[in-house]
Symmetry: C2
Subunit: 234 residues, 2 copies
């Protein structure tokens, strides 16, 4: 009997936004893997920390934040090799994933390496989309809106096209692109429809109109645009 | 002291995909509100059923499925009046929301009526997006993909424009539009990149290539398109 690899979404940051299923799997996992930066703590591990059993073996996947090539595939190749040894020995492995495993997640790099050889189950999690809308107190989408999710690192031409084509827009991974994106949104006349959220659901969450956002943003920050103004008006 | 209104996402269907926070709030809620069809059971209530305390007062919001005008605002107006009485009396009210409250959810109709007068907190939930990607075993989005979410009832011209402009596409609320949407996707040459999921995360979940989807689909069904073919190839 081989073990099962679980890709488990741990949600946007507040540990209470883990699902019951994530909590159960993490508590009973003999082996826990998670992405971690080359300096500092793993965000995914921090979210799940309370649930990890003291005896669990841990496999941090150290992903260099400033690698020449993104993603650092050799990191996932090494981790997949380690994880495969546990699975072959019949031990389940839980891989902790920020937010939802398949929504801009790095879990796919393990999935592609292991899903043909071992049972793999993905446990969806609360994504930052819902957490940011909740923080803003404003619906993300209503009725028959088109929602477009744009990664902030995209060039202005692609961001502009995406923003033009939808009623509701979420721009993820804003980070160091904040100034450029804010200028673009201003030039498009959408500043008043735009909200800024950083570190949604965490104790130091920031929620502001985009016009009042700080000059620099953390990687985990998002801009939500709702063109309809008040999405509650029918 | 007035009570607080909680808009609580209960996730896509599997009760274990409720968050720890949703579970805690539902268990301790003296008053529970939820949308319900005019015949049959409330899906949101069914997901949360195990957690609802025996003594809780329940406020079903009966939404006619075939109302001449959608949404039936008088239903939410009546519910808001009932809920306001509880909040004024200092009782917290938990409103159960399928998936995530602010992702195509009807909770906004209560929020708009009550958020200026009472404390309102939105608790994000696992949306069907992540649940459908998990069911398909395929990433929803990777790296710097653009994701567009399209409601199935939109006319072909709008669906076509949305599908053309993104790498990853989720078409929600497919239901009775399945045949039309499948024909459109076929005409665009994207059939091989398209998956179909109905009732994600439930015991009777259906997961199929779109080409093999049944002739009719339930309301809670989704089509996911990933143009890159294999999103795992770098």
């Amino acid at each position: 009997m081989t073990g099962t690899l679980y890709g488990v979404g741990v949600g946007p940051g507040d540990p209470e936004l883990m699902t019951l299923k994530a909590h159960r799997l993490i508590r009973s996992a003999p082996v826990i893997a998670y992405p971690a930066p080359d300096s500092g703590n793993s965000f995914a591990r921090a979210i799940a920390a309370e649930a990890i059993s003291a005896g669990a073996e841990e496999i941090p996947m150290i992903v260099p934040m400033h690698a020449a090539r993104f993603p650092a595939q050799e990191v996932y190749a090494d981790a997949a090799t380690q994880i495969a040894l546990h699975l072959e020995a019949g031990r389940d492995v839980v891989c902790l994933c920020e937010g939802d495993p398949f929504f801009f997640g790095s879990f796919m790099y393990l999935h592609r390496r292991l899903a043909e050889r071992f049972p793999v189950e993905v446990v969806p999690g609360v994504s930052s989309l819902g957490a940011c809308a909740a923080a803003l107190g404003r619906p993300l989408t209503a009725r028959n809106d088109v929602l477009t999710v744009l990664p902030g690192p995209l060039p202005d031409t692609e961001l502009r096209a995406g923003i033009k084509a939808a009623e509701a827009i979420a721009i993820m991974k804003v980070g160091r692109h904040l100034g450029r994106i804010r200028a673009l949104i201003g030039a498009m006349g959408l500043m008043a429809s735009s909200g800024y959220v950083a570190r949604a659901s965490l104790g130091d969450q920031t929620v502001l109109p985009l016009s009042e956002a700080p000059a620099t943003a953390p990687y985990f920050s998002m801009i939500l645009i709702y063109k309809g103004g008040d999405p509650w008006l029918t």
